[in-house]
Every structure is written in structure tokens, then in C-alpha cells.
Symmetry: C2
Subunit: 122 residues, 2 copies
């Protein structure tokens, strides 16, 4: 199982994964979430030579075959909002962040003085 180079970026509102997948189309790459915590990118690079021609490889440096990468996602990843697209041989996966809860702000307010109210009647 071959690998592929991936950049991981953190933006204010999302995590962005960019993978090099030259020669691969949208339909040939698979993006999955495993166990609600792992981003899995997989696919296969094929040498699509025309079988009607006699092709002789003088040099074959480009990796071919299946590839796979896995990344642990942080706890604030919004798994339902993950989107992915392939363009110019680059796969980009955007994982939005769950917005942090509103910060705790202690309140100050008045209690009216008058009739007492008991939750459990006497």
C-alpha cells in the first residue's frame, strides 16, 4: 500500500487536508470517516496505457497502485459538515470546527423582596 503526500492546515473555523493525487479523478478517490474520529483517504493510481499499442517503459518513477492515509480528527471536528473535492490532481478535504460554547459569563441581578415561594409546599 503506497502513500501520498498530505498537507494539514488549521484555519480559524476549519481543518483543511490537501493530498497530492495526480492523474486521479473524483470517482477514483474515497474519503471516509471511521469510528467517528478518523479521516481516511484512499484510492488507486493506475497506468492507463492504451492496450492496442506496444508500450515500453524506459523510466517509471511515478508511484502506481493503491494508496491510503489516515488522520485522527480533533474532538471539535464537525463530522457531519465534512466536504471534499478533487481538482488539478489535488484532493482537498474541509473539516469544519464545532464552534466553542459561548464563554461563561457570571450574571448579576436583583431578587425582589415580597412573598416567599416554596417549591415544596410546607
Amino acid at each position: 500500500m503506497a502513500s501520498t503526500s498530505v498537507d494539514v492546515k488549521e484555519l480559524p473555523a476549519s481543518y483543511v487536508f490537501v493530498a497530492d493525487v495526480p492523474g486521479i479523478k473524483n470517482s477514483e478517490v474515497k474519503v471516509q470517516i471511521e469510528n467517528d474520529s478518523i479521516l481516511k483517504i484512499s484510492g488507486e493510481r493506475r497506468r492507463d496505457d492504451n492496450p492496442t499499442f506496444d508500450v515500453k517503459y524506459v523510466r517509471a518513477e511515478r508511484p502506481a497502485g493503491k494508496f491510503m492515509r489516515k488522520f485522527n480528527l480533533p474532538s471539535n471536528a464537525n463530522l457531519e459538515g465534512v466536504s471534499a473535492a478533487c481538482q488539478d490532481g489535488q484532493l482537498t478535504v474541509v473539516v469544519p470546527k464545532i464552534p466553542p460554547p459561548a464563554p461563561y459569563k457570571p450574571r448579576t441581578f436583583d431578587i425582589p423582596i415580597g412573598t416567599l415561594v416554596y417549591t415544596n409546599p410546607k
Copy 2:
């Protein structure tokens, strides 16, 4: 100067060079013939991050910067017919072959018997 992976194939009528250039468009890659004998492929891979966002690189595996590769072309390469195109992060350069001269075929034919012809008059 970084490198990039290239496959070189020989077909019956051409040589084909396929280079991995993920994220690169037609206008960002340069294909040149040097000294009537060398194929030069060069370009630059940029990290095109939106400068208005605060981007933090958690992982940066993808090569960035300028890259260049040179290949000696065989003597039967038709330099005037070279063509190149970028698609899905792959640059393909096709170098047609000059067709070999028609094979030597010894002839058999009759010489008419009659008046002699001298190239240098006696």
C-alpha cells in the same frame, strides 16, 4: 530546486513523458527544447493560501517551490512535432519519432542492348 516524478514511455511512433505536477495549471509549467537535444520541464509549486485567514500548518509533506527535470532526446525525435498538455495534475509531453528511411531494397532490371552511350565523348 526540487524534482518531480516522471515516467518515460516508448511507443511505436513516439516517446511520451508523463510528469506528476499536482496543483499546477497549464500556465504554470514550462516545456522547452534545449540545444536541439534536451527536453526541459520546469515550473513552480506554490502554497496558495488565502492571506486574509490565519493559516497554521500542522503538517506540510507536499513539496513546494521550483522544480526542474531534463531528458536527453534520442536522435530520431521530431523536435518540431513536440506537444504538451496538463490535466488532472499530470503533464504529458509527446515527442513524435522521425520515421526511419525506407529500407534498402536491391533492384533487378534489364539493360537494353543497342547503341552505346558515353558520358564523356571519346
